[in-house]
Symmetry: C2
Subunit: 335 residues, 2 copies
């Protein structure tokens, strides 16, 4: 996603510079040690790339409050290692064969190596964080600990949801808040803390990140069904084929009449159906129920709430620009 971000002509911080700064720090801090079956998976995973959204947010959060990005590099590395740890373990749980177009760790090595290299990445996330200035430790560690707890909770809720027939929308929002939005918020606020933000400022920018994260996840759900393959970088309807409980499905089951509900549930549990037909049939019901507009509206609502959070900070336009740019980028993916 940040590839689009990199091309946007925003005022304020230069995203490609921040990515470059982070990548250089990452290269200076590759994992080294024995045995190879432990360390190779870790470096493989970190090397798969991804868009480095979280560490860039950390560096951005620091800059906004006037800090030199160097101060936030340990936190940036921490959140990126943590994110990759969670992906390694999630991929085991989801039995996913691919990640970023490459073999997942448990597929390329084995499940034991994936569990263990994930564990060590979690330890290494703490180790990275402890390279921060010691005076920042209490606030950074508290934020990071609480966020790590939330991400684990979110992932377990997500798994619990798999075996539940109906999910209430508020529960879904809480789940994505924990699983996805919490780390985006924490990435910003840890950077802000490094940059000299007060507790109140760090709280507000974290809320901005979380609310933007909610918007992002709903857009992600929307684009899976209604974006072009070009926009989403993967096959259209992947969530539908994986029978995932997305914003779209939950909303459709909430607002639909009995007939469309029954059709959706029948389609949802049918794993024998022709994939193309299944995706088309589900999308057609979503469209009929006007779910796409509701998703866009909900995403916009979270963006508005996010804006309100940072407007209260009294930042200058120059400081606000990169944050607003980030939000616009997220909004802009579907247009």
């Amino acid at each position: 996603m940040i590839s689009l971000l990199l091309n946007s002509n925003m005022s304020g911080s230069n995203y490609s510079e921040l990515v470059k700064t982070f990548e250089q720090y990452l290269a200076e801090n590759t994992f080294s040690g024995q045995p190879e079956n432990l360390y190779n998976p870790m470096n493989y995973m970190m090397g798969l790339g991804g868009k480095r959204v979280r560490p860039v947010l950390t560096l951005l959060g620091c800059e906004i409050f006037g800090g030199s990005v160097d101060k936030a590099l340990p936190s940036a590395l921490c959140v990126e290692i943590f994110h990759n740890f969670s992906l390694v373990h999630d991929d085991i749980m989801d039995k996913a064969p691919l990640r970023r177009g490459q073999q997942t760790v448990h597929q390329k090595w084995n499940e034991a190596a994936a569990i263990l290299s994930g564990d060590l990445m979690l330890v290494k996330a703490y180790e990275a964080l402890l390279k921060s200035e010691m005076s920042l430790w209490p606030r950074l560690l508290e934020t990071f600990n609480n966020t790590a707890i939330e991400v684990c909770q979110g992932q377990q809720w997500d798994m619990d949801f798999e075996s539940m027939e109906y999910i209430v929308m508020s529960d879904y929002i809480e789940m994505i808040g924990l699983k996805t939005a919490a780390l985006l918020g924490a990435s910003l606020s840890m950077g802000a803390i490094c940059g000299g933000a007060t507790d109140d400022e760090a709280y507000k920018i974290r809320r901005f990140g979380e609310l933007t994260g909610l918007s992002f996840q709903i857009m992600d759900d929307y684009l899976d069904a209604f974006g072009s393959s070009f926009e989403i970088g993967k096959q259209q309807g992947g969530d539908i084929l994986a029978n995932k409980k997305t914003f779209l499905l939950i909303k459709a089951l909430e607002v639909g009449d009995e007939r469309s509900k029954k059709e959706l549930i029948d389609l949802h549990v049918d794993s024998q159906m022709d994939p193309k037909y299944k995706v088309e049939a589900v999308i057609s019901i979503f469209t009929e129920l006007e779910i796409p507009a509701m998703a866009l509206e909900q995403a916009a609502k979270y963006n508005d709430l996010a804006m309100k959070e940072i407007m209260g900070l009294g930042l200058e336009d120059k400081q606000l620009a990169p944050l607003v740019g980030f939000m616009n980028f997220l909004k802009g993916r579907n247009h």
Copy 2:
């Protein structure tokens, strides 16, 4: 193992008191949160009991250097949570159905819940540690991080060894040093740090713990084949039936002639054989090669080295007594 310890009439600290103090702190710090499928496995695992060797060592380490045990309770909880985290994940990797006579977490819930509750326990180990006095954070966190890394390395070596035909003894010692001894050493030294030990004192007591841990693991290997079921609390020959590469097997392949090596390897790979016959046949070769005496000698050697480490500390007899008691307890299991 500590049940014997509790009954020993040693001078110095009262082990049962320390266990009680720890259990009370543990009870005040049970995990609470949602979802249940995340938190119940964590409390289930901590509640399976075990002998609380590591947290007791932490409290002991603190007392030896004159600290009130209260100061070391966060560290004690940290090492016990960490130990249990490692057991939850190891049990998945080993596909173990039972732990302490009860169902393992992945068996009672499922593998995903076991991965995730283990992950959260690792986070909670850090959280527990951060309840220590802040002035102690740098030394405690450094010790704990390094130890967590070592334990992961040790577990991966152990798994790597499974698919290797020959293991060199020095590699085996390094593996058990990382997987088992490191945390025993760290438990003592983190307590010592809380009690006011200098870096040198904390280092020496950690080395004492590590060397005693090596001795302990070799005795564990020995007792599995040559202890009575009463002494070891489980079926005799369990390691032999699980085709584990123990000190005994590695030593036997090191010193045996071609005939006994071949016999051992044939027995080792045979999974169809009558269990009773297999255990007897392997034990008979071990005995013929005088492996039991070599194991006892090696264990005694590590105990002597452990004693040398703490003799250099200039502790009073009163302070030394509980440590020597601990060592004697470990030595004493086989007699």
